[in-house]
Subunit: 248 residues, 2 copies
Amino acid sequence: MRRQGICGQLRATTQLRLARLASIQTFSANSRVWGDDCEHDLVGVLVSGYLRTQRHRIDGHRQIVSMALPGDFIAEHGRKLPGEVEAATSARLCRFERGGFRRLLEDAPDLARAVYSLRVTKLDQLRLLAWSLGALTVEERLCAFLALATRFMPYAPIARGGGVLTIDFPRADIADLLGTSVETISRITHRLDAIGAIRIHCPDRFEISDLSRLVTMGCIDETFAAIRFAASDLKWARTRDPKLPDAA
Amino acid sequence: MRRQGICGQLRATTQLRLARLASIQTFSANSRVWGDDCEHDLVGVLVSGYLRTQRHRIDGHRQIVSMALPGDFIAEHGRKLPGEVEAATSARLCRFERGGFRRLLEDAPDLARAVYSLRVTKLDQLRLLAWSLGALTVEERLCAFLALATRFMPYAPIARGGGVLTIDFPRADIADLLGTSVETISRITHRLDAIGAIRIHCPDRFEISDLSRLVTMGCIDETFAAIRFAASDLKWARTRDPKLPDAA
DNA sequence: CGTATCTTTGACCAAATTCAAGCCACGTGG
DNA sequence: CCACGTGGCTTGAATTTGGTCAAAGATACG
């Protein structure tokens, strides 16, 4: 895990100093990680599970604006914009003591560079989301999501080609990420099944025989290979339950 | 201008070293600023005018993913994700020589910090856009846009309270930013006029008598005051045609 | 004065939301 | 072991929003 995400890009000394600031924190599904009622700063690396950054309307309608994947660097500062971070699944966060982190940031340029480049990655992902929300139909968005999900969620290749994708967070989160409703997600997955783009094994498990077809249906031909995810390098090393270091 | 945007946060020596890397570049409306066919990196500060960061679908449908305002720090790196930057209006960019900028970034921590904090601001703006595209109706989005526009576009207070907002980029850009069509923008502005939320003076000039009403209609009560824009501090100092320094 | 561009308006249509009910799997407690 | 309730998923029907197409006004520009 140390080789992934932020830590892989750091010098040994910086890693060490960072480790001294770290402590593992556990969250259960749907618990609040950061928000109004929490302490001000949040800095850390997600070790396992998924977090969602979201925002509500007065009427309760929710939009997820970003999903944090294992390996992602998390940083929320105490500015007072509506928004909160919750655990989409049970999750473990390697949290850094904020004062110490800030100081380390000052005199470890390799850390500053790593943090910056991870922010750029997040920005790219968010641009992709905004684009898909504004320019794509729900069906296209879902195809794009499924295709991309093979890059950061369990995707087991199968004999006859293709693979089986397991979505490990609830339908409602997919719906709120794609700006639609669970009903529509259901309808569309079944439609995709009907035309043979996917095969539904069970509600959270889909067989994808032709990934490139999904990519094209999701209008992300150029993007699919180019977009970066924290988790995409390690590719399910972590499903083999790696023993965790004292600090990620 | 030096006190705004990125430069206001820098030490004098850094400002000086930055100025040596700078050169002003002019773009006419709708010209390409950065994209596939351009050279790899783009680093600079927008001096005047507006840039749009956008992305196309194969069918030509365009989504604007971010508007750069005067004072905004621009940085696009040579990763190969679809997307391009164009001038929405005629614009002047204070561009930095990229190699030199990269080197300066290494040993000027104040610059690194400033660049980072501007990235965070951009991220907030993008989150707001993604949220509004996913969670709001077109009418709400437009109300939110108009309200926010008073923060970064010419907004002249008038005697009877409220003010007159001048939109200085074309309707089509508003439509593509809000993920809708010019027809819908037209219909909705007239509807807003009918219910008295705004008064249309001419197609690009609206009188807003009750800004807080627009804010509420746009579902951004919490956000309106909290969100930051590069331009919102200087507030039309620049409409008085400041003479420009050699480097922004 | 004609042409091009932008805006407005109308009619029509498709996509997707909402509301409602039904289904299924699961866990709990009698 | 079964009844029951809960939560998540599916399906249907009615409704609405907003997109597309087409044409008519406006406005600016040579």
